[in-house]
Symmetry: C2
Subunit: 222 residues, 2 copies
DNA sequence: CAATTAATCAATCGTATGATTAAATAAATC
DNA sequence: GATTTATTTAATCATACGATTGATTAATTG
């Protein structure tokens, strides 16, 4: 899904004549991907029309078919371009953070920093994974159920065995609480900032992370 | 928006002849409202077509115009019917729970029980309030910014003054953490149950509430 | 029964959508 | 310049949407 492919012609291994593929610019492709990331995250898949995508990318609507077959193809290409590497990195965090002195704090911090650095991610996860009928739920679960979710629960179980996690807590629920506190503030921020009268300052992310670590670590410590 | 109103005819105060309004059955109206609550919560406003609503209610599509003017009218009537009273009750909880022996625990418990008893609510809030472009965000914020949000922050501030809340915590962030832990498990449950391999048993709600109280109260206590 | 109004239905309107096509243009090779 | 291929465009397709219309059926009153 990554190469600009002519409809139903084959690329001979050695092209002899004719205009070669651009290979250098691919400006149209990139503009479409950028528009897709921005619009899909903001409005959701269904609410974004192909015409709106084309206009945002300053491109003819037919270019979607040309480069990505159809709207779904553009969506998946956009995910492969930006979402998947990031999800993979988040998955690795769970493993790597387990090594530090305070694995829970290490994971929590890395997780929230990643979310904060990629503000398009939380709303996209919200729409396409958490919301019922989200198109990424299956893929997300497959990625994380095999990799991350279990690891996080294992981490909690290990902490409990080491006596650093309250014995009366269910490790699974503890993992859920951690994710709740780490994720929800990002997705709910636009609402929370108005309901709670927050002023989101320069150092808001730092303060939020520090606060979350304080509350969660004390909350689950033995 | 509540009376079945003929298109552009007036209801004379005293009707003299002709078929009177049913006043008894209103089965069509009720079926449409029930279908609306179910479908809008499950799939979101845009994804539900008027034809799907009519079919679910076993009713002719024109009945939507007849009883509610249009799709938006049906949506708002559905909200007025079920959502608003519940939201109002949630808002009152914030005030009433403040009186008990442990106001924070009281509010947390009442809040989560209400959410658990109305499982259609979290996904609807997710779609229509939290998600960007949600149609209820303005209304929700107006309801809660004036009533609840401030009260919860005040509650935290009072707890801090009484020495029951850690002095190094921002009361606003503490309120946000509480809402995070109380709400997120409900909206994320379908995903979490698969990612974390949870089995949602009979007493899951009780265990979740007990767990949340344990972690949060210990996490914020001085 | 005749008049009047409430309620329902089949049919259809205009619009927006995702997608595709045939033609036009651009760039490279011979 | 002729040819071949890559890219782009305007025009258009079939479908689904929200909404409305005019006709039809039903119930009640005089």
């Amino acid at each position: 899904m990554n190469t600009p492919k002519p409809k139903s012609s084959r690329h001979p291994a050695v092209s002899k004549a004719g205009r070669p593929p651009a290979e250098r610019d691919l400006a149209v492709r990139q503009q479409l991907l950028a528009a897709a990331r921005s619009l899909f995250a903001k409005h959701g898949y269904d609410a974004v029309s192909t015409r709106a995508l084309a206009e945002a990318a300053q491109v003819n609507p037919a270019m979607i078919s040309y480069y990505f077959d159809n709207k779904q193809g553009l969506y998946e290409a956009m995910l492969a371009d930006t979402f998947q590497p990031l999800m993979q990195r988040l998955g690795e965090l769970m493993g790597s953070a387990a090594g530090g002195a305070n694995p829970v704090r290490g994971f929590l911090e890395a997780y929230m920093r990643t979310l904060g650095a990629n503000p398009w991610m939380p709303p996209l996860i919200l729409r396409e994974v958490v919301a019922e009928g989200g198109r990424l739920r299956g893929w997300f679960i497959q990625q994380f159920a095999s990799k991350g979710g279990g690891l996080l629960t294992q981490l909690m179980t290990r902490e409990q065995a080491a006596g650093r996690l309250r014995a009366d807590l269910d490790p699974t629920l503890a993992a859920l609480s951690l994710v709740s506190m780490a994720v929800f503030p990002f997705v709910a921020m636009p609402v929370a900032s108005e309901v709670f009268g927050m002023r989101v300052k320069q150092d808001y992310l730092d303060r939020l992370i520090a606060h979350t670590e304080r509350v969660f670590l004390q909350g689950v410590s033995a």
